[in-house]
Each structure stands twice: as C-alpha cells, then as structure tokens.
Amino acid sequence: MAKSPETEHPLKVVGWATRDASGVFSPFKFSRRATGEHDVQFKVLYCGVCHSDLHKAKNEWGNARYPLVPGHEIVGEVTEVGSKVEKVKVGDKVGVGCMVGSCRQCDQCTNDLENYCSKMILTYNAVYTDGTITYGGYSNLMVADEHFIVRWPDNFPLDAGAPLLCAGITTYSPLRYFGLDKPGMNIGVVGLGGLGHVAVKFAKAFGAKVTVISTSINKKKEAIEKLGADLFLVSRDPEEMKSAAGTLDGIIDTVSAHHPILPLLGSLKPHGKMVLVGVPEKPLELPAFPLLSGRKLIAGSGIGGMKETQEMIDFAAKHNILPDVEIIPVDYINTAMDRLAKSDVKYRFVIDIANSLKAE
C-alpha cells in the first residue's frame, strides 16, 4: 500500500494545506523524517505569508503538488539536533527560508550560491533527496539540514523578523551584488508590498536616498513618514515620472504584475541598473534605445545563498531592521490570502503558529 503523507515518515506533524487550485486552506495531518545526523528539528513559532505562497497554492505557476503546505519564512526553537550538527543546539532560535537542499558540489554551491544550484530543493512543493514531497512552515514542526538553518540573533524579534527569510534576502542580495549599497546613492523601489517595504528599509540602512514608485497615491504618507522614503512617485503619472528622469542609480522592481518598464528605464541615470525581483508571468517589452543610449542594464535576482542569508539576518539585527507585520492565527489564513491578493496588508501577514496551530 502506498504511504500517505501521514505515514511516510515517523514524526507526526500538523499543518494547513490547500488540496486544489481553489487555494482554500484547511487542516492537514502529515509527517516528517526522523532527525538525521545533519538535521535540525524545530518547533515552529511563526511563519510569514509570502505572495509566492498564494501563487503556488492556486497553482498559478503550474507545478503545484497537492496537498500543498506553503510557508518559507519560518522561525522557531530547536527541539532536537542530529549527532553531527555543530551550528545550533536544543533551545536555540533558528530560521528556515526558501530552500532546504542543494547538491553542495557544483560551482554555484561551492560559491555560496545554493539558490542558483540546478538541484536546489525548495522548502515546499519540491521533491527531497529521499523522494518525498517537501512541506513548508504552515505547520507545527520542521526538520531541515543544518546547512539550510539560519541562526537567529539573540533578542531579535521572531514574529516581525520571520519575513526577512524570503522578503529580506530577496531585496538585500541584489542591493549588494549590483553595488547599489553605497551611501549617498539614489535608489528607486517599485511596488510597496512585502518585498518593497523591506527594500526601502535596507536601502535606507545602506545610506541611500530612496524613491518609492507605486501605482497607489494612498501609500505615499506611510512611505514617507513611517518607512522613511525620501520621495514618492505615482508610476502612472507621466509628469511625475518625467520629473525623475535620469536621477536613479538603481531600481529594485518588486512588482509581479505586467507593467511598462520604459518610464522606469528613463528614471535611471546613465549606467544605471534595474533589478527585477518580482516575476511577471508574461514577457515584458524592452525598448532597445533607452537601454543602449544610457548603457543601462536590467537584471533579475532570486533570494540568496545561505551565507548571504545569515549575513542579511545579522545585518538586520544589528541595524534593527524589521518588516512591518500583521500577526494572524492560522485559521485566518484564507481571509489573509484574499486580502493579500488585493494588496490589503501592511506589509506582511505572519502566522502565529505556536499559539494557534495545536497538535492533536
């Protein structure tokens, strides 16, 4: 008889899963592997709700395996460690982000770029090395290889800090890699959601002057007064975009919906760099002239390697950079997803797993 999610592994776990592309969540019993010699088992305390969770739950990217337990901004407390684990001990606070495995041998892995490994294993909805499906952090217990565990800094809030494990690294990595982290630079952030608001905080911490570019004028007040942005432009207003022409050293574009990039390219200085971290499904239109005539570039970036993720968490703790979150119980998740689809959250939901998801 084929093993069910509940019986395939020895460790009993409860979570919330979607069963089909309706994306509706309900309780789900499953199991996780026993703690191997390199594994860390931890009790999940909080898990951030990333927009990718919504995309995957509804099979918008076409590769959903149901039942699907999302969640890749997971923080918790270590309950058991394998015999060869050196990084953490029982009782330590830890985090797991978007990946739980990679080949560990290729050029990417040996350069601390596990996220670009062709055999990288995602925290949920992927196939692990033992052939079973990975389940994410909308659950009460996690088991992960210590290499993919992030040590959580002392006294750094777990609830508000959880979204850094995806939103944080996704915006920190390109700011560093593309050299957009120098004090005094002018950085644009397109889109003010989970990714965008964290990008603003990191860019300010790097000493940049930050311009938020958004479709919604009603986000302006908070952007300036609460998040510390220096300027706010409404992207659909041609006059406002024109006023910013040629002013930005770099842009972090967090928008996943299809959108025109011509005005954004225009706002870059010559030799400016635009980095896309949101993933529009259909190709965008790239006009050649503005790219060439200013020697500009457009790049993409996706999360970051484990070394850089640890560096980012430590940086955030040192500079007190915390996402703005709305804490919810797990049974609110369906309403939360509806609101997320309408961008009705400032700026990340975080599930209080420990206090709302009880093992039976």
Binding site: Y116, A288, S293, R295, I298, A299
Partner: protein
Amino acid sequence: MAVTGYAQKSFGWAATDTSGVLSPLHFSRRENGSDDVTIKILYCGVCHSDLHSVKNDWGFTKYPIVPGHEIVGLVTKTGCDVQKFKVGDRVGVGVIVGSCKTCDICQQDLENYCPKVIFTYNSRDQDGTRTYGGYSDIVVVDQHFVLHIPDNLSSDACAPLLCAGITVYSPMKYYGMAEPGKHLGVAGLGGLGHVAVKFGKAFGLKVTVISTSQKKESEAINKLGADSFLVSTDPAQLKAAMGTMDFIIDTIAAVHSLAPLLDLLKMNGKLVTVGLPDKPLELPIFPLVLGRKLVGGSDIGGMKETQEMLDFCGKHNINADIELIHIDYINTAFERLAKSEVRYRFVIDVANSLARN
C-alpha cells in the same frame, strides 16, 4: 536644405527622402578652426545604422542626410591649436564629432553618453547646422574626436572598426567579458558580429556564433576562428547549448525574443544588446530571476576607449572583413545589406570613386 555658404566646399552622396536612395549632393563645411583638422576621406564603412537613418527607421532623420561614420583619411589642414596631428597623418573619425567636454560624463572619457553629444551625421552641430558624414570628400573635425590609425592596419579594412569595432569592444570590456577561458556567444554574424568574434578570440575566449543561417558556419569556423556554431532556429541545438555561455553579445538588428538567448547563458550570465531594432524586444523575466542573469545595453564608446580599441587591433592585427565598393554602387549595397548579403561590411573607396561633377 543642404548646408551651403560655408568656407570649405564639400561633395558627397545623400538621401533626400525615406526611400533612402542616395544621389550626389553639393554642400559645404566650416572653415578649419583652431582645434580642427580637415581630412581628405579615403574610405568610409557602410554601417547598418546608415541604412536605418537614410530610411528614417528611427524617426529622427532630417533630409538631406549624408551618412557615414567609419571614416579613414589623410589630414590636409590642422588648426593652430592642434597638437595631436600633422598634415599627412592617416586618421579616423567614428560616430561622434562633438560633446560638451565639461560634464561629469565627458570628464570620465564617456563622451558618447554626454547629453550634448554631436553625431558625425544627422546631428545638430554647435553652430546650429546639420552634420554630414563620410560618404563625402572631406570632413572637418575637432581634434579631440579624431583618432590615430596604427601603422599595420589597412586603411580600407580598418574603417569599420570605427563603429562596429568600438561598439563591441566597449561592452566586452565594461561587462567583464575579456576573461581568457570563458565562453562567449555572438548572436548575429554581420558587421558587428564578425568583429565580436575576432575580438573574442583575441581576448582568449571560446567563441560560439549563434545565427539563423547555417551557410555562415563554414566561414565562421574556418575564416573567423569561431570555435563552434549554433543555428538558433534549431531547437535541438539550442537545447544542447543551454546554460553553457558566460556572455552573449547580441548584434541582431531585427526585432527578436531574448528568451532563447537567455537560456543559453549560465547562471549569473550576461547578455549585452548592441543592435537597435526599431521595436521593443521581448524580455521574459523568469530566466533573469531564476538565474540572476542580466541584459545590458551599450552604445559605441568614448574617444579614449576608441583609441585603445584601435591600438588593440594594431597589436593583434585585427582588420574587418570587407567588400570594397565604389560610391555609385551604394544603393545596391544598401539593398544587399538589408538582406544581410555581405561578408561582412561594405567599405566605400571614396577617394577613387567620388568625383565632383
């Protein structure tokens, strides 16, 4: 209306409307100023931009237009403040003949990105008149925008380096492609592409030509020295080459999707586009994000780098592969160029074929 009434009479071939057909034109150029050199033109390369411009493909042509920005000639006059050149020197003029010289960008030797840049043709000169290019007998240029040609390069075959050469050399340096042992893809095998192959080999790179025309393979490998050749319309060949290239120089002038080229790049790979299609390119985002790949643009190069490029060509004995033509062949040449029927650049033998009426 042609510029007339200036001190130095000039004669060339110009297009007068969007048909792009060229015919003789008398006009005039300024007197040789204190910083200027006057150059008797020997040869002028035929760049695909010339064809786009005479037909007003990009929408900013003012007629009559005398194209030509790959000019090689001999200095006949030097202004009193000219130190770099003397009469009789063999020199080149490329795509730009002026800039503000004072802004940050000019101070960094990036005159080509100066907001006040003046192009060799179809541009507004400092005195308000239109500039006329190298399909003509003489040109008068500020010494700052004139280049020395290394002795060992051929006057006719080095002309295309003044645009095609710098157009591929600059991004190859800027985007860090000059790393021996790395793998470069060159998309499109025309004027720009064939020079990119030669530079790639001179930089010690493994070079793969990516082209729609199978019949270009033999020359690409045997004559230009490419290491391999990929037919981009063959899905099996594309699949076999997926994720193998560190860099791609995309010289394709027609509208195309970047998707198949992006898939050829390794992680963190770089695609630089130097062709100028008149409509936007299709840019899929998934491959960029999943592979941290980038698409960059580049537009010729500054004067310092253009001289560096010419000196590099002198050192490595790199000339373009050309077909020498007379000026009265130019309309036929343009028709063949539109069909990519040239290996790989036409060069006009100006001195021996441009006769004043």
